[in-house]
Symmetry: C3
Subunit: 276 residues, 3 copies
């Protein structure tokens, strides 16, 4: 069905990945910002995963060995949290567990940028950000001048994402009007979601947690799992918006729809396109 000159829409493995998350309920440790803990935990629960908001360095050595994936998010970062993140990531990496880095607002301080650069050195499985964040992180990881903080359309960030993916070895996901996922070689576009999700705090962070749950199922398929997570979250947003009267009701319907998604709906709505 595919022709080189005109990439065709597909639903990829979106349904199969969601079904696997529901069946296996991966335990996802989130070391995430204070603003997003609630929505991220509810997103994981709605998708069938098990959230664990455990961030103390006093607990990582006992707890992290038992998790299926880790989500590291640098919003509301302080130095002691960086210590916990590195501790948890070290354990995850040693034990072959996948982990996701969300470099939230990386441009807001050198402290945050440097923390993210150190975390990238620790080999995340997936890096997920918006256009500005990925451009800034890609440039910094290549030793270039800091990328501008202004808004970048995700499609403009494709080259930055590919560079970052090649340099870091991570799958890189860029959220935007069209989400982009790349491993530095393949580039996939996800045409799901709705602009109003940006009017709800913590949706990006919650998406990163969902990516961790999906990648937990089979870390060797991180590219496909990330694409599926973005598509599933976007579909829930689309269905939610159809019922919503504004961002707060969208937030509610988003979670309800994620919880209730069935195969037919996913197959009908998933809009995944292989770009490169």
């Amino acid at each position: 069905m595919e022709a080189k000159s005109e990439p065709s829409k597909s639903s990829g493995g979106a349904w199969a990945h969601l079904a696997a998350v529901r069946r296996r309920s991966p335990l996802v440790q989130c070391i995430t910002n204070f603003v997003s803990m609630d929505l991220a935990a509810n997103t994981l629960l709605a998708a069938g995963a098990s959230p664990a908001m455990v961030h103390s360095v006093a607990e990582t050595s006992d707890f992290t060995p038992h998790v299926d994936a880790l989500c590291i998010n640098v919003g509301t970062l302080t130095p002691d949290w960086v210590t916990s993140m590195k501790s948890a990531v070290g354990i995850a990496t040693r034990l072959g567990k996948p982990w996701v880095l969300d470099p939230v607002a990386i441009g807001c301080s050198n402290f945050r940028l440097n923390a993210c650069l150190e975390l990238v050195e620790l080999k995340p499985t997936v890096i997920k950000g918006n256009g500005s964040e990925i451009i800034a992180l890609s440039a910094a990881s290549l030793g270039q001048a800091k990328g501008a903080d202004s808004f970048h359309e995700s499609t403009d960030a494709i080259e930055a994402a590919k560079s970052l993916a090649r340099k870091s070895g991570a799958v890189v996901a860029v959220s935007g009007a069209v989400d982009i996922v790349t491993n530095g070689n393949q580039v996939i576009g996800v045409h799901n979601g709705t602009a109003m999700l940006q009017k709800i705090t913590a949706t990006g962070c919650s998406l990163a947690a969902l990516v961790a749950a999906f990648v937990a199922i089979d870390p060797s398929q991180a590219l496909e799992a990330t694409v599926s997570a973005l598509s599933i979250f976007g579909i829930a947003g689309e269905l939610g918006e159809a019922m919503a009267k504004g961002p707060a009701s969208l937030r509610m319907h988003l979670i309800d729809c994620l919880y209730g998604l069935d195969e037919t709906t996913v197959l009908n709505h998933a809009n995944i396109v292989k770009l490169e």
Copy 2:
């Protein structure tokens, strides 16, 4: 109306306790995890109580003497929070104020287990957990090997709860398909609630805060007050689920229903059974 061979359902003191909370609006200090602060505060407000999310050790000596009850929850625990908890608990105990311990995910680290054991030594009025948590805490407080972390039906946890109640002097509540409350002698079952509440983060933590508000009314009736709080929260969940399309709308309806509960509804729905 009761026959020894067949325990009969009753509404216990559920309505009277809720009415007393609404009338007296007890001030409940919560030293609780970051994930649950929002929902726990809104649960207390919806029940007519006054929440105070005050956790700094710099404030306990001034503030805790004025509260009517204290809720201690070890989710997202760090060492400095343990210090605050012990400070607040020490004041509460000295002044005869009731306090509730919620040993969230006690099995996730030795740090957390040890903190909970130290808190149990400080004589909580009520300990509320799920089956796994109560089994682990009971075993550890009796010096036995750590209980498994896997899911335990609350009914399986009855013996653990009774042992913990006798050892600690606390009323012990075990949430589950049927909630169990015991003082080591009497055992009461609460058949309210709905499974979907487990798909919302922080409902267990919010229930612990509600127990603190109920126990605040008359600490000498901690067993009955705990039973009432569990029944009331469960009824709100049942009513909420009837209107919900998923966990996020259930979360909303749960709070709305708790706020709007009237006597007839409570009497019709409360399902409390004396088991021993």
Copy 3:
């Protein structure tokens, strides 16, 4: 239309201020309590502003110079947060950026009272509290005995607010059945809002964040902007309550209504009265 003997209702600049916030999307840094971060961020987003929940002292020197306004809220205060607050406020003041102080539960400890007094010395643009908080802060800033912690109707707090405004140089807003705003000279009443907003945690904190967004547009018009923010938030609450079944659905509708407010609705509902 106005007569000296009978102050007449007007909509003031409420619509113009909201339209300006939507157009210019001011970046508002919030150093606020853990309970309110989520709702405050969503309030700012719904109003068209850009929230930044950045509280680490490691980030203030890089980040605060780029914000348009700052909101400082002392709920869940700990000593390290006071350090961050003073750092951010120092930068904001030096660069002429407006900032809002919300002295939440100032009466709960001497630690909190003293932190607020030190912050008042740093010249907030606006101080927003309920009657008890403003009375306590006004008395303490004038070296009087601590005001009682009991509830005070906002109208009783007018004299305290005027004294505090004169002493501090800040615009002082007192939330209550009727909100009062004063610069020590003029006194304006805002008759919008609904009592059920008090049954939702963090609405006061979210209102303070909204005031910061409004004041960001033109700090020289802080009195008018504060009045507008209170009126707009109150209108959203009124419209929300008409659809709500309880506090949790009110919380949702509040944000949806804030997002959807149009000029006609604002002009019809804003109820602003010049009192002095």
